[in-house]
Symmetry: C2
Subunit: 204 residues, 2 copies
């Protein structure tokens, strides 16, 4: 890759990173202005256009990138689980770790999931769909669940996890522990309940 393309990539990264860094509990992506991001990245406002058509395009890039990051980390966690131990417990712990090390990645997904741009909502939905689908297959395979029940169960699990993540963002470490315990209980409820419903169908 030429010197030129390399420098371009570097600036592009600076923009993405600048945007991520400006996110916080008090600052959502949609509240960032093009000029702010450019300023933080150390380039002129008009230079922004050399990399993205508009802020929307930047945001979608961030969602995709964030979703990928999240999935990679969760996959690593699942590998850890295969070494033995409760899948649920280990997955929750992994999730909490991810949350703590990448709060802003999680923020943009969380916020734009119910945001005002249809494109954003669709992008986040796609990322979440990845999670549901992976989990659904996993449950089908290991618990012998009906495809339909597996799907509904996976949706419930992912919903509960994401939602807990949202609450966790505002908390301190101690409260997060309690939350994690509650979450584990809730996930177990769903798992047990799904099992019960399955038996009911089978014996009918």
């Amino acid at each position: 890759m030429g010197v030129r393309a390399l420098q371009k990539e570097k600036t592009r990264r600076a923009l993405v990173d600048a945007a991520f860094n400006q996110l916080s509990a008090e600052r959502s992506f949609s509240s960032l202005s093009l000029r702010e991001v450019a300023r933080e990245a150390g380039i002129a406002p008009t230079s922004f256009y050399r990399h993205f058509k508009d802020m929307n395009e930047l945001g979608l890039t961030m969602v995709d990138e964030g979703g990928l990051t999240l999935r990679q980390m969760m996959r690593k966690g699942r590998q850890r689980a295969e070494a033995g131990g409760s899948v649920i417990r280990i997955s929750v712990d992994t999730f909490v770790e991810v949350l703590e090390s990448n709060p802003n990645v999680f923020r943009i997904l969380l916020h734009e999931r119910s945001g005002t741009s249809a494109a954003f909502r669709a992008a986040v939905a796609r990322e979440i769909e990845h999670f549901i689908s992976e989990l659904s297959h996993y449950t089908e395979a290991t618990a012998g669940r009906t495809p339909m029940l597996a799907r509904v169960q996976a949706e419930a699990l992912v919903t509960l996890v994401f939602n807990a993540g949202a609450s966790a963002l505002d908390m301190k470490r101690a409260d997060r522990k309690v939350l994690a315990d509650h979450l584990v209980l809730q996930l177990r409820m769903v798992a047990k309940g799904a099992e019960a419903l399955q038996h009911k169908v089978e014996t009918k």
Copy 2:
């Protein structure tokens, strides 16, 4: 009440209604400007201050009002359930009805729950807490659940319902039916699972 106070109340309502009416899938409260709301309400921008300190105060009013509306409607639904039939099914149906007749009330709660203002998040959390608490007591009383388990269970139920509501906002009627069915299944899973967990504790 004097003529004066009456007129004031009327304008105040006009402001709140104007704000609610401007909400949509593409427009969140935080994206509304004071001037827009004033324009829609038919008053001068500066007159806004005769009624609210700033947009934040308007928003909090809307959250409180919206939460109240929601709770009242759900309570009516629960009364309907007492006449017989599945509590879960009837509650879900009620919820869907509420959603369809007051989408914007639901929107502001949903969006500001993960919004950028701590005050808003707290206000929404308070409203949701009402739901959880009511439901938790209900489950304790009718299913004889442990307070702690009842609480965790209620949290899960409310989370699932709210989340389904969020997805439903974007859908057409037919898809909403499917969603409602899934939701009912998920709620049953949690109920069954909670029961199972309770027995486990009791027989130990």
